[in-house]
């Protein structure tokens, strides 16, 4: 079992309120990712779960019992650190065996568990080496090995892939996912990389300034962001925003600003009935923009001037000027366009997001 519940968790450092009233239920076997920009409180929250950081107020419980006062060793958790934190003076074997020795496991049992973990991670050949004789990826595996030999109730990961190069990071990400499927242990994973969050998490917790912005499955965050921050944080390239005024003409709603004038699709219009005459922030993802000719004539369209063309092979990113706003569109690789071309783009109506200008909450 490995159910983790955070109830009203707060953390103060002197006058800084680093983590603000975090409430969260993490189910057994679930892979939950905390994501957010640096300083958002995600690592602090993880360290509070680990017991490395005292909780200012609130309760953390694992499998129903409150662990606030328990030392890290008594919480039955294992943690993988950003810089691996391998003991430099011990061999790989001893690094992995250390936690078991401290817990007074028998020698044959330690040996069996270390070799099992080494097999799973493919580091059987490295057991006699010292950490400094290993590459970054190998160290990462040893750090994982040290966590899994203990068969803990919960795995905690603190940005474990951020020190690896891009290629290795993608590879390890897949292996982490496989490992989780194989072991089924509850995992709490901290990262600032939204791609890691989306690909690894069963559920993702987006944090900013110590406050949980939204908790949900990856696609839920992508399709229905709770506010402008989540909308901008999830997805790459990031969502386009434009501040527009809502007006009514001939029974339908129009959103317009200096460079943009679109008729709002029915679904969006219904939500904005109360905002006529007011400003709202419009959001649309680059991948929800298409070249107008090919799209349904009913789709809202606008004109743009292309400033930069980025060929990625699988897609083309167009950096465009729309009135005063800068927008990015991701279009089919077959589209032939040049810098300074004027282009008419269409939005997929169902993918239009609207946010309150002041509160930035989704409308």
């Amino acid at each position: 079992m490995g159910q983790v519940v955070l109830k009203g968790i707060n953390k103060f450092y002197d006058s800084v309120h680093a983590v603000k009233d975090v409430n969260l239920q993490i189910r057994d076997k679930e892979f939950v990712v905390f994501v957010g920009p640096s300083g958002c409180g995600k690592t602090t929250t993880l360290r509070m779960i680990a017991g490395l950081e005292a909780i200012s107020s609130g309760d953390i419980s694992i499998d129903g019992s409150v662990v606030n006062g328990l030392a890290p060793m008594d919480r039955d958790i294992a943690m993988v650190f950003q810089n691996y934190a391998l003991y430099p003076h011990m061999s790989v074997y001893d690094n992995m065996a250390f936690g078991l020795k401290m817990r007074k496991f028998t020698r044959p049992e330690i040996d069996r568990r270390v070799r099992d973990a080494a097999d799973i991670l493919g580091i059987g050949e490295l057991l006699k080496r010292k950490p400094r004789q290993l590459s970054g990826g190998q160290r990462q595996r040893v750090a994982l090995g040290r966590a899994i030999v203990r068969h803990p109730r919960v795995f905690l990961f603190d940005e474990p892939l951020s020190n690896l190069d891009a290629k290795l990071r993608v590879q390890m990400r897949v292996e982490l996912k496989k490992l989780h499927l194989r072991l089924g242990t509850t995992a709490i994973y901290v990262t600032h990389d939204q791609v890691e969050a989306m690909t690894l998490g069963d559920r993702v917790v987006v944090m900013k300034d110590g406050v949980v912005q939204q908790v949900g499955e990856p696609l839920e965050l992508y399709n229905r962001p709770a506010n402008k921050f989540v909308a901008g944080f999830i997805g790459s390239p990031t969502m386009n925003f434009a501040t527009v005024t809502v007006t009514e003409a001939n029974g339908s709603l129009i959103a317009e600003n200096a460079g943009l004038r679109i008729r709002l699709p029915d679904g969006t219009a219904r939500r904005l009935r109360g905002h006529i005459g007011h400003k709202v922030t419009l959001g649309v993802r680059p991948e929800d923009l298409t070249v107008a000719g090919a799209a349904d004539p009913d789709h809202p369209c606008f004109d743009a001037v292309i400033e930069v063309v980025e060929q990625l092979g699988s897609e083309i990113l167009l950096d465009m000027k729309v009135g005063q706003d800068v927008m990015v569109a991701s279009v089919e690789p077959t589209v032939r366009v040049n810098v300074r071309d004027k282009l008419r783009l269409a939005m997929r109506p169902s993918s239009l997001h609207v946010f309150d200008v002041k509160t930035e909450e989704a409308i």
Binding site: P72, M73, A78, M79, Y87, P88, F98, G99, M102, R146
Partner: protein, 309 residues
């Protein structure tokens, strides 16, 4: 034309001196000369001169003649020399153990986070930066049989009924100089070991805590092995310094009472300068050399082994 205005630097044919310095071997030699002159003048020459002196029978004002190893033979059979050899080992051994233990303890405390951390760290160095002779004079007063603040304190705490003659009793005098040396040496250990502790990533201790190691085990399995190379260097330095210590004993007891607290250095000084027997004094100080040399070799080998590990 524009091109004509551009000045091209044409090196003149290099003179002999410049050409010599182009050669790296010569350049290295030239750069090393100042250091070699200084080392030669202040270390090599006195050392050789000391050896030459020790095989003569020269005294102050008398150049003396070659007498072979007669001086060494003489000190070999000298009871006070035996005492000073014993004292030097005792003094070095006991103080090093205490300095290491207390210094490590202080370093571990100072490595924590607390208010006024920077101030305390600077403050702890005080015994080390006060001129030794001055602080030793203060200690001498504290150990003075009549004016001793220690006696006063112990008396008022009802621990003693009469005066303790700290520096008048051979054993108490030894303990006293050991106390002063430890007091003076602990800051060096504390600050050096603190610097060593700060190179150990806190994540290692956190990882060990999660792995189930209690504080004592974390120290023993993580901190201590990682601190060992620094510790060895600090201990090496301290042993060399303490072995050749002079000031504390000279000021506190002058080697007394009845030559009971002499160390190599103070005895060599007393014989060589005090009584004017230069050659014998030189023999005494040179007798230190093989021992220190051995200590350095052993520890440097050990440090290398630890670092390779």
């Amino acid at each position: 034309m524009v091109v004509a205005e551009t000045q091209v630097y044409m090196p003149q044919a290099p003179r002999t001196r410049q050409r010599l310095l182009e050669d790296e071997r010569w350049l290295a030699f030239v750069l090393l000369v100042p250091t070699m002159v200084l080392l030669g003048m202040f270390i090599a020459y006195p050392f050789v001169r000391g050896i030459l002196l020790s095989v003569t029978n020269s005294r102050v004002g008398v150049p003396g003649d070659f007498v072979g190893l007669a001086n060494y033979y003489k000190i070999w059979n000298d009871g006070i020399f035996h005492t000073s050899v014993y004292n030097t080992f005792l003094y070095t051994g006991v103080t090093t153990v205490f300095k290491l233990a207390l210094g490590l303890w202080l370093a571990l405390l100072l490595n924590r986070n607390f208010r006024g951390k920077a101030f305390t760290r600077a403050f702890i160095l005080l015994p080390f930066i006060i001129p030794t002779v001055l602080s030793t004079f203060a200690w001498k007063w504290m150990f003075d049989p009549t004016f001793s603040v220690l006696n006063w304190l112990f008396y008022h705490l009802n621990l003693i009924s009469g005066r303790i003659n700290w520096l008048g009793d051979p054993d108490l005098a030894m303990i006293s100089i050991i106390v002063v040396n430890v007091w003076r040496g602990v800051p060096f250990f504390a600050i050096s070991l603190l610097a060593g502790l700060q190179t150990i990533s806190p994540e290692l201790n956190e990882a060990a805590a999660i792995d189930g190691a209690k504080p004592r085990q974390r120290f023993w399995y993580i901190t201590w092995p990682l601190l060992l190379p620094v510790t060895m260097v600090v201990v090496l330095f301290s042993i060399i310094q303490t072995f050749a210590d002079f000031q504390i004993v000279y000021v506190m007891t002058g080697g007394g009472p009845a030559n009971a607290t002499h160390l190599f250095a103070t005895y060599a000084y007393q014989i060589g300068v005090g009584t004017g027997l230069l050659s014998e004094g030189a023999a005494i100080s040179l007798a230190m050399f093989p021992i220190l040399f051995l200590v350095v070799i052993v520890q440097l080998l050990y440090i290398r082994r630890v670092e390779v590990r």
